[in-house]
């Protein structure tokens, strides 16, 4: 889309200066502290991020009873694991997991804005927030998935979850074949944010 529009050459430098000016003024006026923004960013480096979701998914793969508990009562099942504080915190107060299997492929979307399960996935990637994905994902999810490199066979149901109220959804992707020898930590390392939103499959390690 952006090639339809003209932007000034200093587009990014201008925004960078403006946001720094805004932060400086807000600090001067006592609206925020000079350490406040960094406190937010640190939370998303250490506490809330896709590293949590990947552990949840890997545990669901190795423990079928846990997988069922995760689908039945997501917050309670998440609380069973040793994860950082705040798994029911901001934008994760009410989360729900849905699982891909041989019959169903799930795709998470937010057509109205960019609702995303912060504690387990961190912040949404650009593609999730882009208006073209949000426009097309509900009308032609299979075509959109194809553009992400995911082919869903016609006999497999596609379920699209539009995050329009309180629930923040995420996907338990299918475990790739030939991973029986991997540890839970090694499995977690295969799980990407995209696979937990439904626009990617999890690939087995190639080496």
């Amino acid at each position: 889309m952006s090639n339809l529009f003209e932007f000034p050459e200093d587009r990014e430098a201008s925004s960078a200066a403006k946001v720094r000016a805004l932060e400086a003024l807000l600090i001067e006026k006592g609206v925020i502290g000079s350490d406040s923004v960094d406190a937010v960013l640190k939370h998303f480096e250490t506490m809330a991020g896709p590293f949590n979701g990947a552990k949840i998914v890997a545990h669901a793969w190795v423990d079928p009873a846990y997988r069922q508990r995760l689908l039945d009562d997501t917050p309670k099942a998440i609380a069973e694991l040793s994860l950082p504080l705040g798994m029911a915190g901001a934008e994760g107060e009410h989360m729900a997991a849905v699982a891909n299997d041989e019959h169903v492929h799930n795709l998470i979307i937010c057509t109205l804005c960019s609702c995303y399960p912060w504690p387990v996935l961190g912040l949404p990637p650009y593609w999730y927030k882009d208006p073209v994905f949000r426009a097309r994902g509900v009308r032609e999810p299979r075509a959109v998935l194809q553009e992400f490199g995911v082919t869903v066979p016609p006999d497999k149901e596609v379920k699209v979850w539009d995050s329009s109220a309180q629930i923040r959804w995420f996907v338990v992707p299918e475990r790739p074949a030939n991973t029986a020898h991997l540890s839970e930590a090694e499995l977690a390392a295969l799980v990407t944010p995209e696979s937990m939103m439904g626009v990617a499959l999890v690939a087995a390690p190639t080496a």
Binding site: M1, R20, E23, K29, I32, G33, Y126, F148
Partner: protein
């Protein structure tokens, strides 16, 4: 009729952007951080389910600032600009304007300070840490702001009911995706208890605590047979105000 209310379903937009970066430019982190600090010190949190000491926080910020504030601003945008600007460019424009409109800063001092950092991008920020605010930021991020309310009042609909989505008068802000208006779906789940929303949306109908339903829609019922992909179900969580009996 606002673009952001009716984005879902628009055709002919070309390929999706598959960029997996959260922040496309380093500066975007700062506006995300400013917004999140504002949410953590929002005046409305003094009445939140989790008791936050925002009344006594050492901050000059005295407004409500929630997702509803940011969303209402985005919904108010010129539709061409909505497509033109990247996600955090919209945030920067909306949040900077909010601080000017509310009198925290003036447009002139923002322009002057922007020119200062444009000339010297690495000029230092003022050094004024606010440990109590950092503590509140962490408390808010870890405990959130749940809109859930315990309530035993029986919900109007039950799982399995066929319902019709309401078509309320369009206002500044809504949580009803436009493509669902007047469409028939089936209640898949009644969420326990009730859920409020940050603000009243007036005749649109939400704000006060009410039941929320997970409603399933056959894609063919939304887009029309022959205009939808096969074997596709769309689920949306809808506040009770948006749900009506099917006739």
């Amino acid at each position: 009729m606002k673009l952001a209310h009716h984005l879902g379903g628009i055709e002919n937009l070309g390929p999706v952007n598959t960029d997996t970066r959260v922040f496309v430019e380093p500066w975007e982190q700062r506006i995300f951080g400013i917004h999140t600090v504002m949410m953590a010190e929002s005046a409305h949190l003094s009445a939140a389910g989790h008791a936050y000491p925002v009344d006594t926080l050492p901050t000059a910020f005295k407004n409500d600032w929630t997702w509803a504030s940011l969303r209402t601003g985005a919904e108010d945008m010129n539709p061409f600009e909505y497509f033109k600007f990247r996600y955090y460019e919209k945030w920067l424009g909306g949040i900077a304007q909010f601080f000017v409109d509310q009198g925290y800063i003036t447009a002139e001092e923002l322009a002057e300070k922007t020119a200062h950092f444009r000339a010297d991008p690495h000029a230092a920020l003022p050094e004024r840490p606010n440990p109590a605010l950092s503590e509140q930021v962490n408390a808010y991020l870890q405990n959130g702001d749940s809109p859930h309310h315990e309530n035993d009042a029986p919900p109007r609909f039950a799982a399995g009911d066929t319902v019709c989505v309401a078509d309320p008068q369009a206002v500044d802000h809504t949580r009803l995706p436009g493509y669902l208006r007047n469409r028939r779906g089936v209640i898949d789940r009644v969420y326990p208890g009730q859920y409020s929303y940050f603000v009243s949306t007036g005749v649109d109908g939400i704000g006060q605590a009410m039941p929320v339903y997970r409603v399933a829609f056959d894609a063919a019922d939304i887009w029309g047979p022959g205009k939808s992909e096969p074997n596709t179900t769309i689920y949306a969580d809808l506040f009770e105000a948006y749900v009506q009996p099917a006739n």
